[in-house]
């Protein structure tokens, strides 16, 4: 267990270092920098150079990178936004709760709804309910998120007047973004759950369990469901990381103040410290979630657990 954790943590640190370097490289060597964004359309080259120097953007790339990493790693100082001058930690702190809230609610909804759908569909494979539900999931997967979002707005906000179009702050504001975000994920979970259930239902250990006279309910709970959930769990873990990285489209359509919008705006402004802070945080969360999923996986499937831990 302990060596496993150490190995995983070392891997995670390496991944973080790689992410930070590549992000920094892309931003620092790409066209334009924050000085362009700051001085605006009418500035002269001299003004631009002056601003650039005052922000330390004229230093060599490697030196800037090492300075940044030293500040971040040794002093836990994520720096300040080059555009607004506000501390990066605060900018991200303002947005993170919204992103976590939306991610968790979408994930929960998708996990529940998807599992139930998969379960119902797997109960009578090939039946009309199965066919109907699986066609629905195909629809859910192929509808572009922003379009689904606009449809939801049209019905629930404009036609029915039940829910607000944009903003955040009340539970009502959470409903439409959650639904839009959960829609494709629900479809994926449903399909995976169904496939996985059908798989497990035919497994040898299930037949054995039945053969030894276990009640159907017990077979479902103890053998089929638990095993069928393993691939679903893994997938949800991967997806959680993706959702945390920012559901930019959904955030934009619903005016949701999440990390994605902050990051995209920072990229447009070449606001390097903000982008770095956001990307590193997301990479960290991603690693943490994956580690969690691995541990969960090991718990749910003792066979995997033995070899992984």
């Amino acid at each position: 267990m302990i060596p496993f954790l150490i190995r995983r943590l070392a891997g995670a640190l390496l991944a973080l270092a790689a992410v930070s370097f590549i992000t920094f490289l892309l931003l620092a060597t790409g066209p334009g920098d924050a000085a362009d964004a700051l001085v605006g359309e009418f500035a002269s080259q001299e003004q631009l150079d002056e601003v650039r120097a005052s922000m330390g953007l004229d230093a060599p790339f490697l030196q800037r990178y090492l300075d940044y990493m030293a500040g971040a790693a040794l002093h836990q100082d994520m720096g300040r936004s080059l555009i607004s001058g506000r501390p990066v930690a605060r900018l991200i702190g303002e947005r993170l709760p919204y992103t976590v809230l939306l991610t968790l609610s979408a994930l929960t909804l998708a996990a529940l709804l998807g599992s139930i759908t998969g379960l119902i569909a797997a109960a009578r494979p090939g039946g009309w309910l199965d066919l109907g539900l699986m066609s629905l999931t195909t629809l859910g997967l192929s509808v572009p998120t922003f379009w689904a979002a606009l449809l939801l707005i049209y019905f629930f906000s404009l036609k029915l007047g039940w829910l607000p179009v944009t903003g955040a702050g009340s539970p009502a504001h959470l409903v439409l973004p959650t639904l839009s975000l959960a829609l494709p994920l629900t479809a994926i979970v449903a399909r995976l759950m169904r496939a996985s259930l059908l798989d497990v239902k035919e497994a040898d250990y299930v037949r054995t369990a039945r053969a030894k006279g276990l009640k159907p309910g017990k077979v479902w709970q103890g053998h089929i469901l638990r095993n069928a959930l393993i691939p679903v769990l893994t997938m949800l873990g991967v997806y959680a990381g993706r959702l945390l990285a920012g559901a930019v489209v959904i955030e934009t359509v619903f005016g949701w103040p999440g990390l994605g919008r902050l990051t995209v705006q920072a990229v447009l402004d070449n606001d390097l410290p903000v982008v770095m802070g956001a990307v590193l945080l997301i990479a960290f969360l991603y690693q943490a979630i994956n580690l969690g999923v691995d541990l969960l996986h090991a718990w749910a499937d003792p066979r995997v657990g033995g070899s992984a831990l």
């Binding site: 066209p31 334009g32 964004a37 700051l38 001085v39 605006g40 359309e41 009418f42 500035a43 080259q45 003004q47 936004s81 555009i83 607004s84 001058g85 506000r86 900018l91 303002e94 947005r95 919204y98 529940l112 139930i116 109960a123 009578r124 606009l150 707005i153 049209y154 906000s157 404009l158 007047g161 039940w162 829910l163 607000p164 179009v165 944009t166 903003g167 955040a168 702050g169 009340s170 539970p171 009502a172 504001h173 409903v175 239902k201 159907p216 309910g217 077979v219 479902w220 709970q221 469901l225 934009t252 359509v253 619903f254 005016g255 949701w256 103040p257 919008r261 902050l262 705006q265 447009l268």
Partner: protein
């Protein structure tokens, strides 16, 4: 196998959870009644349908400003909100005429090197600090120090010192007369700020701005909204509004909605009252809605095709004029812009001084035959394929423009019109900043661009030869034009200055470094529940007179 479908515990769990979800959304719904904020709930019911004091007017914002310090970096969207919080010394109305604002009057010395403002004696900042000569001196010294790098400060360049003569008198001293001074100090970036607040808050001032405006900051929810509340002590409204006192409404809110379709939906749902409409399809939708007020805004804007006059063959005036003859501006406006604009016939936007209807007679008209004749005169011969060739080089060009609508449609239409006379055109669309960078470096043939400025100085900025390598991206240089521009910079008499610009334009229209295409019309939609919102200069919507009509 089918008998294994019985799964009681899980079914029960599902039902409970589904009910919980339904219950949550049902409970949540009433709190989300599609009105914007706390409307005057205390008003008696029989007033419904009439104007009542109080209420909130909400405006949609596409980007959230990074801060509300007038001296912060320009271009982050704060100029929409600044005028509500800060007042300026003078007020420039939609026709670009000057009016007193925080300054009651002003005097220009004989030599034009000293301008003395007499301030209103009765003005206080939101924090109670009196607005006096010291505050004005503080503001401008900070502006020149912090905003010195900012282009907005160009009009303050010649100031040698700002002096508090007495409690209510401020003198600006200049190295030489500066004609752009007045339009600069009317910009939202030149709002007068509270010295005590800056001192106390330091860099937090950008998040807690304190001015003398009709509204003051109430709350700022990052990424969601900025809410201003009415300044009850306000008594110094600008020229364009009737109510010089405190606003009738309780609050003005700004809601961050990055997506244009969502803005429209939020408007239709009544969540926001004011949106900027920049898509013809959205305009059509809004036209069909009852009660929506669609108003035109003045941005002193012009859309033009700018040549890189340092690059052959566009260094040849005949080629530039030939291409101008090939363009049907009316068709461009009707088709590519959806009719929301006016064909332009000169370099100056029609709302700026220096615009002269008489100049339109000199404009190059749509005449493809004349275009071909001019190309022949420039030494081009037409090939069998209908293209134009000179010294083995085919006449062709790339139009560089930004990805903002409707640039793509306009460029495509221009491509078709120029192809009709045998000039193949390619289109390159980049984001605005990349376009500027590429154009400043001179790495382009023709650019499709738009200006919007509150002073005729915009022509000096874009076409003065001393701005080559910066804002003169046409690399245009004509000593006669430069000479006139130099005079305009010193001329403080508005009439004489306008006349100088007319003279400059006569020369420009011979040289054609640009082809003026059209003046865009910008529409703002205001909800039927808001009455008497006043459209000010440069896209401002003044809410001093506004009242909210409660709908039944």
């Amino acid at each position: 196998m089918k008998r294994y479908t019985h799964i009681p515990t899980i079914t029960a769990l599902i039902v409970v959870l589904l009910m919980a979800i339904l219950a949550m959304s049902a409970c949540a719904a009433p709190t989300a009644a599609p009105t914007s904020g706390e409307e005057a709930a205390a008003q008696p019911a029989d007033l419904a349908g009439t104007s009542v004091d109080g209420g909130v007017v909400t405006r949609a914002l596409t980007t959230e400003p990074s801060g509300l310090d007038p001296h912060g970096p320009p271009g982050s969207g704060q100029n929409v909100i600044l005028p509500y919080i800060f007042d300026t010394l003078i007020y420039l109305d939609g026709d670009n005429a000057l009016h007193p604002f925080l300054a009651e009057s002003w005097e220009i010395s004989e030599d034009g090197r000293t301008i003395t403002f007499t301030l209103r004696p009765d003005v206080t900042f939101h924090d109670g600090t009196p607005m006096n000569a010291d505050a004005v001196v503080f503001t401008f010294e900070r502006f020149m120090e912090l905003g010195g790098k900012s282009p907005v400060a160009g009009g303050l360049r010649n100031i040698t010192s700002v002096e508090a003569v007495d409690e209510n008198t401020v003198a600006f001293h200049f190295e030489e007369p500066s004609a752009t001074f007045f339009s600069t100090i009317a910009l939202p970036y030149a709002g007068i700020i509270s010295p005590t607040a800056v001192e106390q808050e330091g860099e937090e001032f950008a998040r807690q701005p304190v001015g003398t405006g009709p509204f003051m900051l109430d709350s700022w929810e990052p990424g969601v909204s900025i809410t201003l509340k009415r300044n009850p002590d306000y008594n110094w409204g600008p020229a364009d509004v009737e109510n010089k006192g405190a606003p009738y409404i309780d609050a003005a809110a700004f809601k961050v909605i990055p997506d244009a379709s969502s803005q429209l939906a939020a408007f239709q749902a009544g969540e926001v009252d004011i949106i900027f409409v920049n898509q013809p399809a959205h305009l059509e939708k809004l036209k069909q809605e009852e009660g929506v007020q669609l108003q035109e805004m003045v941005f002193n804007s012009l859309v033009y095709l700018g040549f890189n006059t340092s690059r052959a063959p566009f260094d040849d005036v005949n080629v530039r004029r030939a291409l101008a003859h090939a363009i049907d501006k009316q068709a461009l406006v009707d088709i590519a812009v959806g009719g929301v604009g006016q064909p332009a016939c000169q370099f100056m936007a029609s709302t700026l001084p220096g615009y002269d209807p008489a100049l339109c007679a000199d404009d190059i008209t749509y005449d493809p035959e004349q275009a071909k004749a001019l190309l022949a005169e420039a030494g081009f011969t037409q090939t069998d394929q209908g293209q134009w060739e000179r010294d083995g080089e085919i006449l062709q060009a790339t139009i560089l423009t930004s990805t903002r609508p409707p640039n793509g449609d306009v460029a495509t239409m221009l491509q078709a019109q120029l192809a009709a006379i045998g000039v193949p055109i390619e289109i390159q669309q980049l984001d605005s900043r990349a376009v500027l960078k590429t154009a400043t470096a001179g790495d382009y043939d023709i650019t499709l661009w738009r200006y919007g400025w509150n002073d005729p100085d915009v022509l000096n900025i874009y076409l003065g030869s001393d701005r080559i390598g910066r804002t003169n991206r046409s690399f245009y240089s004509n000593p006669a034009v430069d000479e006139i521009f130099a005079q305009t910079a010193r001329e403080l008499d508005p009439k004489a200055r306008a006349q100088l610009y007319v003279e400059a334009q006569k020369l420009l229209m011979q040289d054609m470094p640009w082809i003026p295409l059209y003046e865009p019309v910008n529409i703002i939609a205001i909800s039927g529940r808001v009455q008497d919102a006043v459209i000010g200069p440069m896209g401002r919507v003044l809410l001093n007179d506004a009242r909210v009509k409660e709908q039944n």
